[in-house]
């Protein structure tokens, strides 16, 4: 199945892309996707900071199971204001 990933802030810079589509196995979790992306984009690997996960514009837990066409965002520490 395919999911859409959007990168923002430091992750966008490190990935060198704002938005990608990636194939993944049915039943995979958002944490599985992050591990796979760290292999696809070696410059993401050093980002050891605590990330939050958002799917379809809601925060989810790392064990959240993804579905076809989900929009996934990995959220580095926010710093608005």
């Amino acid at each position: 199945m395919k999911v859409k990933v959007k990168f923002f802030a430091i992750l966008r810079e490190r990935a060198g892309a704002g938005e990608i589509t990636r194939e993944m196995k049915e039943g995979g979790t958002v944490a599985d996707l992050w591990e796979a992306l760290r292999k696809d984009y070696p410059r993401l690997a050093p980002v050891e900071t605590r990330l939050l996960y958002a799917v379809n514009r809601n925060y989810v837990r790392p064990n959240h199971i993804l579905k076809e066409n989900d929009e996934v965002v990995f959220v580095p520490p926010v710093s608005g204001g």
Binding site: F8, T49, V73, P77, V78, S79, G80
Partner: protein, 143 residues
Amino acid sequence: MFRVTKEPLDLQALVSYVTAPEAGAIATFVGTTRNNNEGRKVIALDYEAYPEMAEKELARLGEEAKRKWKIERMAIVHRIGPVAITEPSVIIAVSAAHRDDAFQACRFAIEEIKKSVPIWKKEVFEGGEIWIGMQSGQPLPGR
């Protein structure tokens, strides 16, 4: 009104938006770009948002404020893109029958923005730039 925008912010527009006949108080907060941070000379802040989710999260914290305090209306607008020194990056306006609810809801909103709304700032300073909030706090390699 819960928005992110590339346009300069207008305090009076937010005050007008929250003005209500039932309100006896309007509290506002204006976050501005400071020219220094942790010893660095700051040139500008450059904000980036996940806009659709940021607006949704701003609205969600507005709903939460309405449950916690007796407020009439709330507006939050956050700017994205480069924000020069002295210019506002975020404005919050809250109206309420009484000042205590307005002050508390306003304070709550800015604290929550800093915790949960997907907006990030890059500090551009003399000698480099960094994404604020990253644990390392170090300039990115290769910059």
